[in-house]
């Protein structure tokens, strides 16, 4: 699904160069749930920006769903973001002027879908996150957890192959955070690849793999040992894992 080889990303000003990613390599299989963690300033957000085609990179190769990303036009990158990637941001990033229905509708409109199909997809995704009854509410009329669920509905409405979640529980209390993580796991169980960027080791442990970044480099890759791994491998594997 996601193949990065020797990706470098350098931010330049007149005075300094900051190497945000150095020879960064990572492969994520389709349907996998991984966590990318690391301390502040380690390059997590840069990785997310590059992986999500929000920023370009300086060197290396990046293939998303088999498609080489390097050298694509801005329009082509927009189309891939729209069709293949669903974003879940730390601060929800719902458009405050639009109600929940219209917020979920935004990426679908940019895809040029017909109204009937959009309506069906919006209804399905809002039902999945439990917000069917709130579709005409403005973001400001919802709690933080509800807003993040609405953002998840927006991310999955277009049926993307990859969900990129940037600190999705960073602005939520522990109960809400658990609900959001449950929701992401539920989406992953339906076949969608999930890449979770977090600085929280507890959350990272819920993924199948935990990629630890320090100074723009992959420091180590730790297979998860908790419930998430057991669920994916089934009861027999779960038993052997606990032996």
């Amino acid at each position: 699904m996601l193949e990065m080889h020797n990706i470098s990303k350098i931010y330049r000003t007149d005075l300094i160069e900051t190497h945000a990613l150095r020879e960064f390599s990572l492969q994520v299989a389709a349907g996998e749930f991984i966590a990318v963690s690391g301390p502040s300033g380690s390059g997590k957000t840069t990785f997310l920006n590059v992986a999500g085609l929000l920023e370009t990179f300086d060197s290396g190769t990046y293939k998303l769903d088999g498609q080489d990303i390097r050298g694509l036009s801005d329009n082509a990158r927009s189309r891939i973001r729209n069709e293949k990637i669903g974003f879940v941001f730390q601060s929800f990033n719902l458009i405050p002027d639009l109600d929940i229905f219209d917020n979920v509708d935004v990426p679908l409109r940019y895809r040029g879908m017909k109204a009937a199909e959009r309506t069906a997809r919006i209804a399905n995704s809002l039902e999945l996150v439990g917000l069917s009854s709130r579709m005409r509410h403005l973001p400001a009329q919802l709690s933080g957890g509800q807003q993040q669920r609405a953002a998840i509905a927006r991310a999955i409405a277009g049926d993307p192959a990859l969900i990129l979640a940037d600190e999705p529980t960073g602005n939520l209390d522990s109960l809400m955070a658990r609900q959001i993580m449950d929701l992401l796991e539920k989406i992953n169980s339906m076949g969608t690849t999930v890449v979770l960027v977090t600085h929280d080791p507890e959350l990272a442990r819920r993924a199948e793999r935990n990629i630890h970044i320090i100074d723009g480099l992959v420091a180590d890759t730790v297979p998860a040992s908790g419930a998430r791994r057991r669920e994916r491998q089934g009861p027999a594997h779960a038993e052997s894992a606990t032996d």
Partner: protein
């Protein structure tokens, strides 16, 4: 295009203040633009009408004499004798009143005496037997005055009877509609009836200031001698006006020490002066409209720029969700189009209201709907151009803005 109006309207409805103010500004600008354009067009059409005169090669001069022995008839006859033989002169005549200026008189003209029927206010132009030739105005019917028909009333013998007149075609039509005016009797002021012996092609006489009835002129065969001054009208051969004017002034000054050339008018300057009010109005209204349009564009530009600044994150989010740059430009143009449409609807009603008021109070023609259509098109185009730069700026906002925590 990946946009429909509903989310745009809901976004505008939730933040209406700026858009409402701009819509009001657009409406007021449209109302002023449309009515000003109608007034200016009307003024330009008026100024563009032919004078019917050879304005390029004709001039007039007033000759005055302060000596007690001044005899207008003999002095003007002597001047005309000189002028008519001066090289470069095509024709010269003594008149009272200079076409296209306020110098001259008017009279009421009617088919019946004033107390018995309606009258028309007409320019009154006393001329000698060379008056029409000097004015370069051809007859379309009838004949010119003969030398023997030129009256020379004096203070001692005022002689109010005029007897025969020549009128312009416009005045003839106004008096007799589709009937022939030739040979008909008309009443000038309170005088005895006069017979129309000739009808000229239309030309603008004195005193009517290029108004709606500027072509209504009646010519009478008369040399006015009651005043201590007379007007000479001179038409020169093409391109000779300046030379002849200089020579005529030099001659009159030298011929009689008491004679003074009071003023000189070229008819081209007279025409320019006659329309100065209209021209100033047209310039002022055009300038005012331009200023309103620029202010409107600045308002739209300002709101657009404000929206870019305040919605940077939102635009970044839209980009992250798959909006192309042209989708962002389209978003701004579409939002602006909604504001402009609302303003245009308001402006159309306001323009029609102002137009109706001007029709009622100032007698202007009813506002032609074409002005509204063109005005809306101009405003729509300029407003979209005004928002174009902020829209392009918005489109350059990178999608990575969405992941920045502010």
């Amino acid at each position: 295009m990946a946009l429909t109006s509903h989310p745009l309207l809901s976004a505008l409805r939730r933040n209406p203040t700026g858009a409402v103010l701009i819509a009001l500004q657009i409406g007021i600008t449209l109302a002023i633009l449309v009515n000003a354009a109608a007034i200016v067009t009307h003024a330009l059409q008026k100024m563009d009408r032919p004078t019917g005169l050879d304005t390029r090669d004709t001039f007039a001069m007033e000759v005055a004499d302060l000596s007690r022995q001044f005899n207008v008839y003999s002095a003007s006859s002597a001047d005309l004798a000189y002028l008519r033989h001066l090289p470069g002169v095509a024709a010269a005549s003594v008149i009272v009143g200079i076409p296209l200026t306020d110098d001259g008189g008017t009279t009421t003209v009617g088919r019946l005496p004033e107390s018995q029927g309606p009258t028309i206010t007409s320019a009154y132009l006393p001329v000698d037997q060379q008056g029409l030739r000097t004015l370069d105005v051809p007859l379309v019917a009838g004949r010119d005055f003969r030398a023997s028909e030129i009256r020379v009333p004096t203070v001692a013998h005022p002689d109010p009877r005029i007897g025969i007149v020549i009128v312009t075609q416009a005045l003839a039509n106004a008096l007799f509609a589709h009937r022939s005016a030739l040979g008909q009797s008309i009443y000038l002021g309170g005088r005895t009836p006069s017979t129309i012996i000739g009808i000229t092609r239309n030309f603008m006489g004195p005193q009517l200031g290029g108004g709606e009835h500027a072509y209504d002129t009646v010519l009478v065969p008369e040399i006015v001698t009651q005043y201590a001054a007379y007007d000479l009208l001179v038409r020169t051969q093409p391109g000779k006006r300046a030379v002849v004017l200089r020579e005529a002034k030099r001659h009159i000054d030298a011929a009689d020490q008491n004679a003074v050339v009071g003023y000189t008018w070229t008819l081209s300057h007279a025409k320019y002066r006659m329309y100065s009010g209209l021209r100033n109005l047209a310039v002022f209204l055009s300038f005012l409209t331009l200023v309103m349009l620029v202010l409107c564009c600045l308002g739209i530009f300002g709101l657009g720029t404000f929206n870019v600044v305040t919605r940077t994150r939102q635009i970044g989010i839209r980009r992250a969700l798959g909006a192309r740059r042209r989708d962002i430009v389209t978003l701004f143009l579409a939002e602006n189009a909604i504001t402009v449409s609302a303003g245009a609807i308001f402006g159309c009603f306001l323009a029609l209201g102002i137009g109706q008021w001007l029709t009622t109070h100032d007698g202007l023609a009813r506002l032609d709907p074409w002005y509204l259509l063109v005005g809306v098109a101009v405003l729509a185009l300029t407003s979209q151009l005004a928002v174009w730069q902020p829209a392009r700026r918005a489109a350059r906002i990178p999608p990575a803005v969405a992941t920045r925590t502010i």
